[in-house]
């Protein structure tokens, strides 16, 4: 801090002041914020974080470990945006602040190493991730015994991995034809982490779209959406991913770009903003305008009523980036209600964050665990046998929590349940593979 005049080290433009001033300090966001509800510290509330950002922008404070810590603790669940009457673009402001922190604040080496490893080297690249996971999975038993010797971060990552063998779904073909009359042609974003850990969700998405008259194309050159980078201040990297994706999709050729990952979806929809000063700005805006979450799209076109009863009691968890990030709340519920035999029960605090939040559960394990504990208790209170949620991070996090509590509750993406109702039983029918292993949280698995 010595001699560091904040006004010099932090360019005034780094955090858009006019957007910050939209916050009128009414405090309506506080009770929506998971970290504030846990800690009660104003600095861990959205209003408090905006106040800190503003103090830095005005030179009253600098990015010190304390201040950065309060921003790091933000899940970026954006529940505050839902609560905010003044329309403060909190997510965008936080991203700007995090980019500013990345530029001007030197993090401890362990944090830097973790980010470099996970965010920059592993997660965005499905090939590398899959390669990395193969030995881990086969050595799981040995690793478990060695658990005490492993660093905490690694242990936590291992705990997130679904048990059992990886699903043997083959990669999606580049085109999946529509069943019956073709009504739409859509492109599918396959994601990076999801593609490796939940290939059956992509298959289910494709099958369900096809069953509803959609021809599904899977562009080969697509890549990571860049959300992890954007949320952790690596704005330039995020922009590079965005440019690549904008170029990878032939927008004239498709009616919509479909994603089944809430976190990806909310970032894809913000490409216009992310690349606003880029050569690809207009293309990016057009791309963003075509992005649809799979539930949003299906509910919008009206689905063919599925015939196969699915006898489950389902609690639906709102992924933050679906509910708060994209305002998609009723659509997934509507789809689930269309499934015969399925009983949808209301999950108390359904739109409270589960603590997954991208890399959050690895970087902020204590808070993530507190939020997960609440989520699991809420799920247990419903008596549901299945939790449905539309985001891979939430799928992993909730499954982990259920496993640890020894609760026999299945965790599914809503499209998986729809696929079941259209008669595609698990992975075997979804793809040409023969695997029928189950994912989820079987007790003792």
């Amino acid at each position: 801090m010595a001699g560091g005049k904040a006004a010099q080290t932090v360019p005034q433009a780094a955090i858009p002041m006019d957007q910050l001033l939209r916050c009128v300090h009414c405090g309506l966001c506080t009770s929506a914020c998971p970290t504030y509800l846990e800690l009660g510290n104003e600095a861990d509330s959205p209003r408090g974080r905006l106040y800190l950002m503003r103090a830095v922008a005005e030179g009253r404070l600098e990015w010190t470990a304390d201040v950065v810590g309060h921003l790091d603790l933000c899940l970026e669940c954006r529940a505050c945006e839902t609560a905010c009457p003044a329309g403060v673009p909190y997510g965008q402001l936080l991203e700007a602040a995090r980019a500013d922190i990345a530029r001007t604040y030197r993090r401890p080496w362990r944090e830097r190493l973790l980010l470099a490893l996970l965010r920059d080297m592993l997660f965005p690249y499905p090939g590398r991730l899959a390669a990395a996971l193969r030995p881990v999975r086969s050595l799981r038993g040995a690793l478990k015994r060695l658990a005490g010797l492993l660093p905490g971060d690694v242990r936590r990552m291992l705990a997130l991995l679904p048990p059992g063998a990886p699903s043997a779904c083959p990669p999606l073909p580049s085109v999946i034809p529509a069943q019956g009359l073709r009504r739409y042609r859509v492109a599918l974003l396959t994601g990076c982490v999801a593609q490796v850990l939940f290939p059956e969700v992509n298959w289910a998405t494709a099958r369900v779209l096809a069953a509803n008259g959609c021809e599904v194309v899977v562009p080969a050159r697509q890549g990571c959406c860049g959300a992890l980078h954007l949320h952790s201040g690596a704005r330039e990297a995020a922009r590079a991913f965005a440019r690549r994706n904008v170029a990878a999709f032939d927008l004239d050729d498709v009616d919509a770009v479909i994603t089944n990952a809430a976190g990806c979806g909310s970032t894809l929809k913000e490409y216009g903003h992310l690349l606003q000063d880029d050569a690809a700005a207009s293309q990016a805006a057009r791309f963003a305008g075509k992005v649809r979450d799979v539930a949003e799209f299906l509910a919008g076109i009206g689905i063919v009523p599925p015939a196969q009863p699915v006898h489950r009691v389902v609690a639906y968890h709102d992924a933050c980036h679906l509910a708060h990030g994209q305002g998609i709340r009723s659509e997934p519920r509507q789809l689930l209600r269309a499934i015969p035999g399925l009983r949808l029960v209301e999950l108390p605090g359904a739109d409270h964050c589960c603590g997954s939040a991208g890399l959050y559960n690895i970087l902020q394990p204590a808070m993530a665990a507190r939020l997960l504990e609440k989520k699991i208790a809420a799920i247990a209170s419903t008596g549901a046998d299945t939790v449905a949620t539309g985001n891979p991070g939430c799928l992993m996090q909730i499954a982990k929590g259920l496993r640890e509590r020894g609760l026999a509750v299945d965790v599914r993406h809503p499209v998986e349940l729809l696929a079941e109702a259209y008669g595609f039983s698990r992975a075997g029918d979804l793809s040409t593979g023969d695997d029928s292993s189950t994912r989820g949280a079987r007790a003792g698995a």
Binding site: L21, R22, C23, V24, H25, C26, G27, L28, C29, T30, S31, A32, Y36, L37, L39, G40, N41, E42, A43, R47, G48, Y51, L52, A55, R60, L61, T64, D66, V67, A83, C84, P85, A86, G87, V88
Partner: protein, 480 residues
């Protein structure tokens, strides 16, 4: 001034022992966020903020601060619109945010026992499945806490029919400013003795810190009708309000929004308000289904008689919810029109509303300010919202002058300077205009009993420290 030992390392260490070191916040970056609440015209960071987790911890913290002569300020969600939680520079904030449990719901006796940090809306959320609710519904109810509601005797749209906070509080546990814990009132009605619960409610934290509250639960009405009446003139809208009250109709809520507010909330929530309307009234009647249409029609007739250009009834619960959300979040939505605003909270007799609104508009013109109006019309409780840019010192000055004129007009019309937001730090200077020195002396006598050293939330409500006010004697001298 009494010498103060100050917040030294020893006191901080003691506080950390009581609440745990992670719940004692010191240093510029930690305390800065506590320098203001929903009222931002004045700011002052505290010397420290402490976050106790139980009533026992609050009491211990208070005892330590009392012994050290350090002033302290209780704070809930920090949504006060009058600066009730702004600390003096050497004070410690005692945040009740961690004490946020609903301890007990007793539907048979229609009571709930809650901690002070419980958010207002949570009680109704928990009671709703059994058909009950907590009636006072301040517009900030999604975030404001019951402890804070007790402090300011909070109101809300539906207090027109259901009454304000004090009508719904049966008992409190109070930590006195010397750290003693005392139960006032209780779960049972009308306990003998002075009504200290009534005294503490609305005392803005100057009599102690409430650590537990027994509230009433109210049976949800069987049904309701929510009307939206659109007017081409503010005057017609306010005349409608007077007309409804005069007819002896007491709706559950009777709210007004003027054009500026309509613009802001429409942009925020897209309810479908007509953007060219001069004013809209939200009129809600509730009760038994068999009586609702009759009640609603009576209100509608008065609207039509006052040239309402359009009348709409919320057709679905979802539409009603959105309409109320638009109304309740209107303050915040005004953040879309200007970087800052200050909300006034004057009250006038309902018959004087048309006059008061006209005057407000005139004051706005005089000072070159945009003033938006969204308020509890049925109660005569106006909320002129003065929009400004805090970076413009001249505008800030004009805002203060205009606010002052508005409040003076309320007093002149036989009203009050605050209907629900409290005096706080903001309206301290207006108290002498509303009350005589003798009136204030009586209140200060009360404060002296509870808070003799003035350590608990100093500088609020009263214009000068206790003891300095001269008592007015009766005009005719009594024979010796």
């Amino acid at each position: 001034m009494r010498p103060r030992a100050g917040l030294d390392g020893r006191v901080l260490a003691r506080l950390a022992e009581i609440v745990g070191p992670e719940h004692v916040l010191v240093g510029n970056s930690a305390t800065l966020v506590y320098e203001c609440d929903g009222f931002t015209l004045e700011r002052q960071a505290p010397a420290a903020a402490v976050l106790p987790g139980s009533a026992a911890e609050v009491a211990q913290v208070v005892r330590v601060l009392h012994a050290a002569g350090i002033p302290f300020v209780p704070r809930g969600a920090g949504t006060s619109l009058s600066g009730t939680t702004i600390p003096p520079h050497d004070a410690v904030i005692i945040s009740l945010a961690r004490m946020n449990r609903i301890l007990h719901l007793d539907f048979r006796n229609r009571r709930a026992v809650v901690e002070p940090g419980v958010v207002n809306a949570w009680i109704s959320r928990e009671a709703a499945p059994r058909g009950y609710l907590y009636a006072p519904d301040p517009s900030s109810q999604a975030a404001c806490t019951i402890g804070g509601n007790v402090g300011t005797n909070a109101g809300g749209p539906h207090t027109l029919k259901y009454g304000v906070t004090v009508n719904h509080i049966l008992g409190v546990e109070l930590v006195l400013p010397d750290g003693q814990v005392v139960e006032l009132g209780g779960p049972v009605e009308d306990l003998p003795g002075y009504d200290l619960v009534g005294l503490v409610t609305g005392s803005e934290g100057t009599l102690g810190i409430v650590t537990k509250i027994v509230v009433r639960l109210v049976r949800e009405p069987e049904g309701c009708r929510t009307l939206l009446a659109v007017f081409d003139s503010v005057d017609d809208a306010t005349r409608t309000v007077s007309g409804i009250i005069e007819q002896g109709i007491i709706p559950a809520a009777l709210e007004m929004m003027d054009n500026l507010v309509i613009q802001a909330v429409e942009e925020a929530f897209g309810f479908g308000f007509p953007l060219d309307a001069a004013a809209v009234l939200i009129i809600e009647v509730d009760g038994l289904e068999v009586g609702l249409d009759e009640q609603a029609e009576a209100c509608a007739a008065i609207c039509r008689a006052n040239r309402a250009r359009e009348l709409r009834t919320a057709a679905t619960e979802e539409e009603r919810r959105l309409l109320w959300m638009s109304r309740k979040k209107a303050f915040g939505a005004l953040g879309r029109l200007a970087p800052s605003y200050v909300t006034q909270d004057g009250v006038v007799p309902r018959t004087r509303l048309p006059e008061m609104l006209a005057l407000t508009a005139e004051i706005g013109r005089k000072y070159g300010l945009r003033i938006a109006n969204v308020f509890h019309a049925g109660d005569g409780n106006i909320h002129p919202i003065l929009l400004y840019d805090e970076r413009n010192p001249d505008e800030v000055r004009r805002v203060i002058q205009a606010s002052d004129e508005i409040l003076s007009a309320c007093i002149d019309m036989g009203g009050s300077i605050t209907g629900e937001h409290g005096v706080g730090i903001e309206k301290v200077s207006h108290m002498r205009r509303m009350f005589s020195e003798a009136d204030l002396a009586a209140m200060l006598d009360v404060r002296a009993v509870f808070n003799p050293r003035g350590l608990c939330n100093p500088g609020k409500i009263f214009p000068s420290p206790g003891g300095c006010v001269e008592v007015q004697r009766p005009r005719r001298p009594a024979p010796a």
